[in-house]
């Protein structure tokens, strides 16, 4: 954890776009706020992608606790493809993102096979995926066999200045100084909202998650819907995982995602299974993740371990908040979440 923080603090390109050098004099306070918000978006992007993926999976009634392992597999794939990809830099980055999606999807497909075909309990299967693929498992084995930690990741996601808008005061650094994946994640939030609440397929998806028996009677294939959305969710989680080596920490280390997959799981509950609320939650946690670095960069003396603990601590606090009181009824939770569906025999 400490090593991770140091690497982060030293990491050049990726973080520097979000962490401009402290400026002089009077503007410091407003600048600090902008920096905090901008880095909240930067560090929140992988959480957002993974949580959107998990939301999609859970909307079909499948709980995938293998999110952390799936993100790590995506991170390995992205890192590997960035080193071994061919073509100009921008193309290699696209290849890396595609590789991360494919491998993330495959990891989630294993979960889908286990719970849908082999009828393993969803919680147990998800844990098994994270143990198999996690920081001490396959992702570490692959990274070591493929010698990913030999040098820095060559081709990364760089901030794209959209039409020179990044020079705008306030809005520039906040909204127009991000990399392509962050912009894509905003499009994705809108697209998923439309898909869930305005499209026929989205309606079918929600039906499967709420009442698989009814959906089945309507002629919707429960198994096919669940397979498709579990795999799609895994692809997004893989993308979120790849954000770490490609944008945040440009040198591989085992367990590079640092438990963010679990935070993303909590975010889905926090966001009541709705894309737009998940976006808010992801940036909130992005802020907690980056606060330490922002303060350190400004020589504020705070215990590194305390700052490092903030996202985990806040996850518990937030989870307590949303699981108590008025939210107790689990607003938005798919009714059939975590349960298997077997058509009754005649």
């Amino acid at each position: 954890m400490i090593a991770l923080a140091t690497v982060l603090a030293q990491a050049g390109d990726g973080a520097s776009s979000a962490l401009p050098v402290a400026s002089n004099g009077s503007g410091v306070n407003s600048n600090l706020l902008i920096v905090i918000f901008a880095s909240a978006i930067f560090y929140g992007t992988p959480l957002l992608l993974a949580a959107l993926g998990e939301m999609l999976t859970e909307r079909s009634g499948v709980l995938n606790l293998g999110l952390e392992g799936t993100m790590l597999m995506g991170a390995v794939a992205g890192c590997w493809a960035s080193i071994h990809g061919t073509g100009p830099g921008w193309l290699v980055v696209i290849e890396a993102l595609l590789a991360a999606m494919v491998v993330g999807g495959l990891t989630a497909a294993l979960h889908a096979v286990l719970v849908l075909t082999f009828r393993v309990e969803q919680i147990v299967s998800g844990l098994a995926i994270t143990i198999l693929a996690g920081a001490a498992g396959l992702s570490s084995y692959l990274a070591n066999s493929l010698e990913l930690s030999k040098g820095p990741v060559p081709h990364r996601l760089e901030a794209i200045d959209v039409g020179g808008l990044s020079d705008l005061p306030v809005a520039g650094p906040l909204l127009f100084d991000h990399n392509a994946l962050t912009y894509a994640s905003w499009v994705l939030v809108g697209a998923l909202w439309w898909y869930l609440f305005r499209s026929r397929r989205g309606l079918h998806l929600r039906a499967v998650g709420e009442s698989p028996a009814t959906a089945d009677a309507m002629g919707i294939s429960v198994a096919r819907t669940r397979y498709a959305h579990t795999i799609a969710g895994g692809a997004l989680a893989g993308l979120g995982g790849a954000f770490y080596p490609l944008a945040i920490i440009p040198l591989w280390s085992d367990g590079i995602t640092g438990g963010r997959g679990w935070i993303a799981l909590a975010l889905v509950i926090f966001g009541f299974w709705r894309p737009e609320l998940i976006l808010v939650g992801a940036y909130l946690f992005g802020a907690f993740s980056s606060l330490g670095l922002t303060l350190q960069a400004r020589n504020v003396e705070v215990s590194a371990q305390l700052l490092d603990s903030l996202p985990y601590l806040m996850t518990i606090v937030v989870l307590v908040f949303v699981s108590s009181g008025w939210a107790r009824r689990r607003l938005g939770a798919p009714a059939a979440l975590g349960t298997s569906y077997e058509r009754e025999e005649r």
Binding site: I2, L110, L114, V124, I131, Y141, N144, G259, Q305
Partner: protein
């Protein structure tokens, strides 16, 4: 033509043996493919794991040492999972157990005698682990907060706490003299607080392993032969029936999670007293005892007595992994093999629970999950 699953009414005895064995065989085969794909000789790798884990000189002693923390975290997971409470926090509970036990030993210092120190370490470790699990237990029992995520977050907080005590502060846990001034490190516990082992000639068994085995027997009896164990099983299998029967669900969740945390915490005490003799946050953070414990519990099918045997097998794997680590035995291979064993065993369960039947050519179940 399709395949159809038919639930077995009774489970033939030979299947309960054959299915796990076949699952292990499949896991080893898939693991062999993974090893071969990374350019190494699978058969040779397995032979070396067997040798360094079990058969070579001194290997079994080291295997038992490696198995001890897995025994505790495996029992902790098995106890909680038994009731459908998913305590994923064995990792963190073991770490705070190590903090508590090393703190107790350092506080008592050289003044106390060996047995007093060891008992104090066990009690402090158990109390710390129970308290850590208690946080998640209270949140789950009174506020309905998902214990999977809270216990997991508490793992990260525990390792940060241990790191803070040794690397981020001048606490009692940190060595502040000698080389400790140059390189931050944990303070050694008094020599009298080191846990003894019993020499069996060819191998040595540490006190921690005996303690873990005793706890395993205790848990087995608790679940099999007591009223408490019965209510745990009913709450796990059928929560509504338990409530109608007047069982105290909330209180049972609290006590069982605390018990589970206490067992993992004693594992931390055993790690300090029997292996490292100081609080070593880096090693604890990398070891991943908690997650391996879940594998152990699942492979043992949550049976405390089986946990003892499975922990020895997993300990052998971990021990061999440590001994063999190098270019042709990359880090992560042990975890991969553990994960494959788990995945294949879970999938194999299908064949013990269901009979796979061919259906007639007429598509009786179109698009059914098969």
């Amino acid at each position: 033509m399709g395949l159809r699953l038919e639930r077995r009414v009774d489970r033939p005895r030979w299947l309960t043996v054959a299915v796990p064995l076949a699952s292990v065989a499949v896991a080893l085969f898939v693991g062999g493919v993974v090893i071969a794909l990374s350019g190494n000789d699978a058969v040779d790798t397995y032979a070396r794991i067997l040798e360094r884990g079990f058969t070579s000189r001194g290997a079994f002693t080291a295997t038992l040492t490696a198995a001890t923390p897995l025994l505790f975290t495996g029992l902790a997971a098995a106890a909680a999972f038994r009731m459908g409470v998913f305590n994923i926090g064995g990792e963190g509970q073991l770490i705070v157990g190590a903090i508590g036990a090393s703190g107790a030993a350092i506080a008592l210092g050289d003044s106390a005698s060996g047995p007093v120190l060891i008992v104090a370490m066990v009690v402090a470790g158990a109390a710390a682990g129970a308290a850590w699990a208690g946080i998640a237990a209270v949140l789950r029992a009174y506020l309905g907060t998902n214990e999977i995520i809270t216990t997991l977050m508490l793992n990260y907080l525990a390792i940060n706490l241990a790191t803070y005590l040794v690397f981020g502060s001048t606490s009692a846990w940190r060595e502040l003299t000698g080389t400790g001034l140059m390189f931050p490190q944990g303070k050694k516990i008094p020599d009298a607080a080191r846990w003894p082992g019993i020499d069996f000639g060819n191998f040595t068994v540490g006190l921690g392993f005996f303690l873990g085995t005793a706890i395993a027997i205790g848990l087995f009896v608790l679940f099999r032969a007591t009223r408490y164990g019965f209510s745990v099983r009913v709450i796990g299998d059928e929560p509504r029936a338990a409530r109608y029967a007047g069982m105290r669900t909330r209180r049972t969740i609290l006590s069982l999670l605390a018990l589970s945390g206490a067992v993992a915490g004693i594992g931390g005490a055993s790690d300090v007293g029997g292996t490292r003799y100081l609080l070593d946050p880096k090693a604890l953070g990398q070891a991943g005892y908690g997650y391996a414990g879940i594998v152990v519990a699942a492979l043992a099918r949550l049976n405390p007595l089986a946990v003892v045997g499975v922990s020895i097998l997993m300990g052998g794997l971990a021990n061999a992994g440590r001994a063999l680590q190098g270019p042709d035995f990359p880090a992560g291979l042990v975890g991969t093999l553990q994960g494959l064993l788990l995945v294949c065993t879970l999938a194999g369960e299908l064949f013990a629970r269901y009979r796979v039947r061919r259906t007639a050519p007429t598509p009786a179940t179109p698009g059914a999950a098969a």
